[in-house]
């Protein structure tokens, strides 16, 4: 299998102490740490290859363009896409979703139209649609949860109407780690002929994703959650939308010709990438993808599942712990609370032991309302986490529970 020790050695930040204790970083759902290759790829670009791209005739500009376009190809290949023009560089998942929402609002979405979301959604996959709905008289319909906090696919089907214009749904719940049934989504969206957007922010870091097979209309994710740099992400567009999605933003680099009266736009990805892109970010992102592919997405998933199952089992044995959406089929994330205690207190004390967890609503307030809590404690794993860290965390969690009582 994979040699976690060797992997850990590649992450400089894991070698350091926090509050005098070795860092146990369980906040990967918020952002992952970066391996040395990624940090170096960014540094080396600035040290040896930095230049603006696309329009230059000089050597540095040509080489930077080649690196940038090669990064697009690497990412396309990772997601099993043949035409790399379908990969648009953005500044992250939130930016990508906004681009789709703003684009669709121009022609595709009309007053009275409906969009189906799930109870799981991150604010970034709610607010852009809400902004549209409030301004244009649109309606957001929400897939409810079953008792076990999984999505209610029967209720889901009942939400479809002639007015349904989009299903925008997360692949993995960032709060619960539960995985959406893509088979079901594909089946229903095809049956009702409705486009769907898949929010891959929490799936892309953890599992193999074959967009050629899933066939979403839109797919989005963030580099910073995938061992890559901040400020970078992608928007994948299906062939159909690549040619037809109206532009939300525009500017230099997207055009063939411009006069003050009229602009003829370029084709492919460029049309959607106005201004100087985050060149170092794209290169760093591709390097992170290569890092993941070298580990192997299936190995990565297996290792993290192992950690999740181990941690869940141990947490279940602590009487004071309440787990949310516990399940064997998860993508690296566990949410829980200590009964009667505020998650803030639990997180604050764990931090004193060097354990970084996330507490609060995780940008999923509607899900919190549904669970009937203010917030949860969330631990989320990456490939560099170990069973020993999980055991250390469980030990200290017990200590924290005693302290708070």
């Amino acid at each position: 299998m994979i040699d976690i020790k060797k992997i850990r050695e590649q992450f400089p930040i894991l070698q350091q102490k926090v509050n005098g204790k070795p860092l146990v970083y369980f906040d990967n759902g918020a952002t992952s740490q970066k391996p040395e290759v990624v940090i170096d790829a960014i540094g080396n670009f600035y040290k040896t290859g930095n230049s603006n791209i696309h329009r230059g005739v000089h050597t540095l500009s040509r080489l930077a363009t080649e690196q940038f376009e090669q990064s697009r190809k690497t990412i396309a290949t990772h997601f099993h896409i043949k035409n790399e023009q379908q990969i648009i560089f953005t500044s992250g998942t939130t930016d990508s979703i906004n681009k789709v929402a703003q684009g669709l609002a121009k022609h595709h979405l009309k007053s009275g139209d409906e969009i189906i979301l799930s109870t799981y959604e991150h604010h970034s996959n709610i607010l852009p649609w809400q902004l549209w709905a409030q301004k244009n008289g649109g309606v957001l319909k929400v897939i409810p949860l079953l008792e076990d906090n999984s999505l209610d696919y029967v209720a889901f089907e009942n939400l479809f109407s002639e007015k349904t214009k989009l299903v925008a749904i997360t692949h993995v719940s960032n709060t619960l780690g539960l995985i959406t049934n893509l088979q079901k989504i594909k089946e229903l969206t095809q049956k009702y002929n409705v486009p769907f957007l898949l929010d891959g922010a929490q799936s892309a870091p953890h599992m193999r994703i074959d967009l050629n097979q899933i066939e979403p209309d839109f797919f989005v994710c963030s580099a910073h959650k995938m061992y890559g740099p901040t400020g970078a992400g992608i928007l994948y567009l299906s062939e159909k939308w690549l040619g037809t999605l109206p532009l939300a933003s525009t500017g230099g680099g997207t055009i063939k010709t411009v006069t003050f009266e009229k602009t003829e736009y370029a084709e492919g990805a460029l049309r959607f990438e106005p201004g100087t892109p985050h060149i170092a970010g794209a290169i760093g992102f591709a390097t992170a993808i290569k890092f993941m592919d070298e580990v192997g997405m299936n190995h990565l998933y297996e290792h993290e599942s192992y950690l999740v199952n181990h941690a869940q089992k141990a947490l279940k044995q602590i009487r004071e712990v309440e787990l949310y959406g516990a399940n064997d089929h998860k993508a690296g994330v566990i949410s829980f609370n200590v009964k009667g205690q505020h998650p803030f207190d639990v997180g604050t004390l764990l931090d004193k032991y060097g354990i970084a967890v996330r507490t609060g609503h995780h940008c999923t307030q509607p899900l919190m309302q549904c669970l009937g809590v203010q917030g949860t404690v969330r631990i989320s794993f990456a490939v560099y986490n170990t069973i020993e860290e999980v055991d250390f965390f469980i030990e200290k969690l017990k200590k924290v529970i005693t302290m708070l009582q």
């Binding site: 509050n19 505020h342 803030f344 207190d345 004193k352 609060g360 708070l404």
Partner: protein
């Protein structure tokens, strides 16, 4: 007692724990538990100080030229911190509150709770306490 004297008292209290953060936090938690709760009628939307995570309710009134603060929080560690703030500032003259440096928090090694991360409402709470004090000077 003057503000500096209360601060000195707290300092001494915490010096006792040295580097033992567990003992320090246990003390903080105890302080939180001992905080005289705010009266239910004051736990209003208006009195809430929204941190991103833990919430703080603060009520203030002027009594005999001195500010009386009562407060509560839904998180016990925040509540412990709030208890310290109240111990230092409640019962003091508005002028003194406005000028209070509150650097004892740093000295007892709890500075992190006054970072601007929004995660707790403490910075906002101190600001609110000072604002109330200012309003009561101007009166």
């Amino acid at each position: 007692m003057k503000i500096e004297d209360v601060e000195k008292e707290i300092l001494e209290e915490f010096e006792f724990f040295g580097d033992d953060w567990e003992a320090k936090y246990e003390h903080l938690i105890d302080l939180g538990k001992s905080l005289p709760l705010i009266e239910a009628q004051f736990k209003t939307e208006e009195n809430i100080i929204q941190g991103c995570q833990s919430r703080v309710w603060l009520n203030s009134e002027l009594k005999d030229g001195k500010m009386i603060f009562t407060a509560d929080s839904d998180a016990i560690i925040t509540k412990g911190m709030v208890a310290l703030m109240i111990r230092v500032l409640s019962g003091q003259k508005p002028e003194d509150i406005v000028n209070a440096k509150m650097d004892f928090v740093d000295k007892i090694g709890l500075k992190e709770h006054l970072s601007p991360t929004r995660a707790n409402g403490l910075v906002s709470m101190i600001n609110r306490m000072k604002k109330e004090a200012i309003l009561n000077i101007e009166k």
